[in-house]
Symmetry: C2
Subunit: 228 residues, 2 copies
DNA sequence: CACGATGTACACTCACCAGTGCACTTCACG
DNA sequence: CGTGAAGTGCACTGGTGAGTGTACATCGTG
């Protein structure tokens, strides 16, 4: 029944799409072990046999779903570095995008599902790392550009990056992920990001529009005294 | 068989302890749904019936285990505020204790299990919040004392607290929890905490031993301009 | 029309698991 | 010794779930 002559054609099958949609919904809702193939078939309004004709096993289906969800992360808008604009505004824009992405319902559920799967099948660890890395690409390149331009003094990029993310995630991500708290409103997000940017720039760069102050040097020396 | 005359005595039963030990191990290892009562009985070298004689259901057993694990969190040492010691050293001590606790193997596994349970049974959300709150008691009281003493300027305690935790957790907690990374070594922990303390104090207080500088005022005004 | 690809309905295997019922042993204590 | 609490071994119910085998329906294309 499975046509090995037309593997490409089967990718477009409407039934297959229905299965994928249903499976996505159900896996995100109930996790891996909390979702049965029977239920997926039901929701997709497709016979169980059809599900198995497209995906040889539950694991395969699960993997396909996760990969598809991961690709959505790529759609995040990219903010480049500008020589003229105040750092605060630029970093704030990056931070807000970051915060919006990680508080997105799909992303949140994806994380929960992966974590729960991870407990029983540690080989799934890599997925989280992949998602992780993607989210930081923008921040990383911006920081690099900014340092090259001499407007920030960053002794350790990895550390700075992680700190910035931590300043945001601890507010808007983890409480929702772990404790099921209501997602942060957009104004809450903005406040949190603003504050994170403030803390970050106070430590790693020059304050807003105050001309290069003595304090800047002090901070830099503090930051530099313990390189990676 | 279940003696309603001697409920207290049954708490001490060696068999009961064996069940608890085995269940703890298995739940932490395989999560709730990945652990069967048969297996617990097996590991505890006890008949399945005995398990059920002590705990009426799997949920009850699970709950008992989680509660027991939560109590271990209380054993964290408490560091009070000292008027004379440098803030850096004091905060660093608190940070290290915090980092050590959350990277502890038991705590880590506890979190994973609760998260995975939480997906299918949202009523478990509260547990995470409880653990959360406990961990911050020390930090909170220290910050309060420190602000009362005029050595820190904190416009929003919740925010400051969360930021400090975020600066640490993003390094030593989440990567291990979500991606199964190796736990941080004690020297890594120290570095991370040192840096977090540095960032935190640069923003919220006076730098190390440099006498009150102009920069401090700037920072305070920045921080104050957007109260909770 | 005929063919092959896709999908369906349904019954079935095999395994696992929560929880129960019961007859039996063991052992401490009065 | 007798009693009763604690524990055991085992078969059993009832349910769920992954994955399969098969005969049949549908439908587009040559």
């Amino acid at each position: 029944m499975i046509a090995n002559q037309t593997p490409a054609a089967r990718r477009k099958s409407p039934k297959r799409k229905a299965v994928i949609r249903a499976a996505t919904e159900e896996f995100l809702q109930g996790g891996f072990s909390g979702t049965s193939m029977d239920r997926i078939a039901d929701v997709a309004q497709v016979s169980k046999r059809t599900v198995y004709n497209h995906f040889p096993s539950k694991d395969d289906l699960f993997q396909a779903i996760i990969e598809e969800l991961l690709q959505r992360t790529d759609e995040m808008p990219f903010h480049g570095y500008s020589k003229d604009e105040p750092l605060e505004d630029q970093l704030e824009r990056i931070g807000v995008t970051f915060a919006e992405t990680i508080t997105g319902e799909d992303f949140m559920k994806l994380c929960r599902v992966v974590v729960s799967r991870f407990i029983q099948a540690p080989e799934w660890a890599g997925v989280t790392l992949t998602a992780y890395a993607k989210l930081r690409v923008n921040l990383r390149s911006w920081l690099k550009a900014c340092e090259d331009d001499g407007r920030l003094q960053i002794p350790d990029f990895d550390r700075a990056e992680t700190q910035f993310c931590g300043l945001i995630k601890e507010f808007v991500f983890w409480p929702e992920l772990m404790a099921g708290q209501e997602p942060a409103s957009s104004s809450e997000r903005n406040t949190v990001v603003k504050s994170a940017v403030d803390v970050f720039l106070t430590y790693y760069g020059a304050p807003t529009d105050v001309s290069t102050s003595a304090s800047s040097d002090e901070r830099v020396s503090l930051a530099a005294q313990e390189g990676s």
